[in-house]
Amino acid sequence: MTGMDAILHGGLQGYLVVALLLFAIGLASVLLRRTLLLQFMGVELMLNAANVALLAFARSRGGDLQGTVFYLFIIAVAACEAAVGLALIIGLYRHRDTTDSDRAASLKQ
């Protein structure tokens, strides 16, 4: 299978492309969106991208269970990040009444 074929036909390369594009979109939403919640979702996307890559690799290594275990941990991390992140966003909202990250810019210089 050549490269492009592999991508289109669900080879390892295809999963990696999906993962990396997902990663890029996640990063782009952190960079381009101003709404903190969406930026946070971008981060979740980035984590998911890693997940896709991880499990694709695990599969091509003969269904390596280590990968799935690590996936479990990543989910736990994502959950923890969600808890802390959302708490921070709520805390910010209470003080500033906004979820726009550009408006929360009093610390600078």
Partner: protein, 499 residues
């Protein structure tokens, strides 16, 4: 599933703070505790005890020379070194926080608990070369810190600082994760040392995705050491957080990130040929950028905490130069530098607490004349600032001395000259603190602080500052002992350098 005594030995140092972290929130369940001082005391004592137990255990381990391990956790000399480093920082933070958190309107135990969680994570982070554990350690120490930054909820900017730290940190750890996953994918193992062997054996060392993975891994570390351009969260987070927490972050985060960086890149991944050169050239560029940005921006700060934040960025630049030199001597210089840096930066942030500066009252104006009002603290301030500036014979000088010596020795004279010029610039803003403390007439705030409180405002904070100053001063005379007795042994026996 039984755990052998050696395995216990490996995890006990982590278990103590973890246990403390779990216990303390339970203590703060009582609703009326705001009035019950003894509960507060008990919480602090528990935290201290947890830290002290870990410290005691680790020093004991150091003395015996054993390097036990538990699964992916290797409590080798380097891990013991960094464990001691972290625990000392934590102890200082707790002592400095005793009164300070109270004044800032936050008395609950969560702060302490989070701190101890973070400590556990840090110890894990520096004690493993397995990516899974490394990542979990990173998250375990980062997540509590995100929260800690924003604990002083009455201040409006704290949540902002926490949010910034969190968001940038999450991006960085995602990148870190992606990098690790890529390395795993190509090697089939999460153990980075084994991965390096596999990659080298299969000739994948120069595969673009492997290199990209390594770069992303480095990204994560550089974020934690706050090297430019991954540094911008630093001043905001420090300014937002309570002084002791800022001190803890500046010292411990940077310290563990550097030690882990040392363990992974020149350590575990050294098996991949050619990677070292990439790392060095990338770090050379970023070190220059870090030195320039850190020092220049620090120069124009009006807020002491922000100045210290930028100064910590610039110190990351000096420390990165050790990687550029890349010799064992430079790394032992790095570890020595970290030890002194621990004392002087914890001390510097502790000064703010000890002077009784609260909230956002941390500008140079607020410091005016305080040096004379509190001579002991003023003396400490002079020691810290001059040491941070690298003026001999203080400890800070020797760290720079060793790194520059190795830089020059490996032919990077230009970088060394840039380094000394940067430290020349840094002298100016460190002196600014002394100018405010000693060379200017006391401000109204200073008069007020001096008049309505006892001589040293926060006794424990003052004490830790004094201890830190003593360490810095002593560091200027026991440098050879520290380097040979600790730094070199950590590197030699833990990492296998100096062979």
């Amino acid at each position: 599933m039984t755990i052998t005594p050696t395995q216990w030995a490996a995890i006990l140092p982590l278990l103590f703070p973890a246990l403390g972290a779990c216990l303390i929130p339970l203590m703060s369940l009582d609703r009326d505790q705001a009035t019950a001082k003894w509960i507060r005391g008990a919480m602090y004592l528990t935290a201290l005890l947890a830290v002290a137990a870990g410290f005691w255990y680790l020093t004991d381990l150091w003395k015996t020379g054993a390097q036990p391990s538990f699964h992916q956790l290797h409590m080798d000399r380097l891990a013991q070194f960094s464990g001691i480093f972290i625990l000392v920082a934590a102890a200082m933070t707790i002592l400095q926080g005793w009164d300070h958190f109270h004044q800032e309107g936050w008395v609950k135990g969560e702060t302490l608990s989070l701190l101890l969680f973070s400590v556990t994570g840090m110890m894990l982070f520096t004690a493993t070369s397995n990516f899974v554990t490394l990542f979990l350690g990173l998250e375990l120490f980062s997540l509590p810190l995100y929260a800690l930054v924003a604990t002083v909820r009455p201040r409006p900017e704290t949540a902002e600082g926490g949010m910034k730290y969190f968001l940038t940190g999450a991006v960085a750890s995602s990148c870190f994760l992606m990098g690790g996953v890529l390395l795993y994918g190509f090697s089939g193992t999460f153990d980075l040392k084994a991965a390096a062997t596999v990659l080298q054996a299969q000739g994948l060392g120069a595969d673009p995705l492997v290199l990209a993975g390594a770069a992303l891994l480095l990204f994560g570390f550089l974020f934690k050491v706050s090297a430019a351009p991954f540094h911008q969260w630093t001043p905001d987070a420090y300014e937002a957080s309570p002084h002791p927490v800022a001190g803890f972050m500046s010292v411990a985060t940077k310290g563990v990130a550097f030690i882990a960086l040392l363990r992974i890149f020149p350590g575990s991944l050294s098996g991949v040929r050619g990677l070292e050169a990439h790392v060095q050239s990338a770090l050379a560029i970023l070190a220059v950028l870090t030195l320039v940005v850190g020092n220049l921006t620090a120069l124009v700060q009006t807020n002491v905490k922000r100045m210290l934040a930028y100064s910590s960025i610039s110190h990351a630049g000096y420390l990165l130069l050790a990687f550029v030199a890349g010799t064992p001597a430079a790394f032992s210089g790095l570890l020595f530098y970290l030890v002194i840096y621990l004392a002087m930066n914890m001390g510097a942030f502790g000064l703010l607490t000890a002077f009784g500066l609260q909230g956002s009252h941390t500008t140079f104006e607020d410091l005016r004349g305080l040096g004379w009002k509190r001579p002991a603290m003023g003396f400490c301030a002079a020691v810290f600032m001059l040491s941070l500036a690298g003026i001999p014979p203080l400890g800070g000088f020797y760290g720079k001395y060793m790194i520059f010596k190795e830089l020059v020795g490996t032919g990077h004279v230009g970088l060394a000259i840039l380094g000394v010029l940067a430290s020349l610039v840094s002298v100016y803003y460190y002196l600014h603190v002394l100018v405010a403390l000693f060379l200017q007439a006391p401000s109204a705030e200073a008069e007020r602080l001096a008049s309505d409180r006892p001589a040293v405002h926060a006794p424990l904070a003052g004490a830790t500052v004094l201890v830190a100053a003593a360490i810095v001063l002593a560091g200027g005379f026991t440098q050879a002992f520290l380097v040979q007795g600790f730094a070199q042994r950590a590197l030699q026996e833990g990492l296998g350098l100096f062979r």
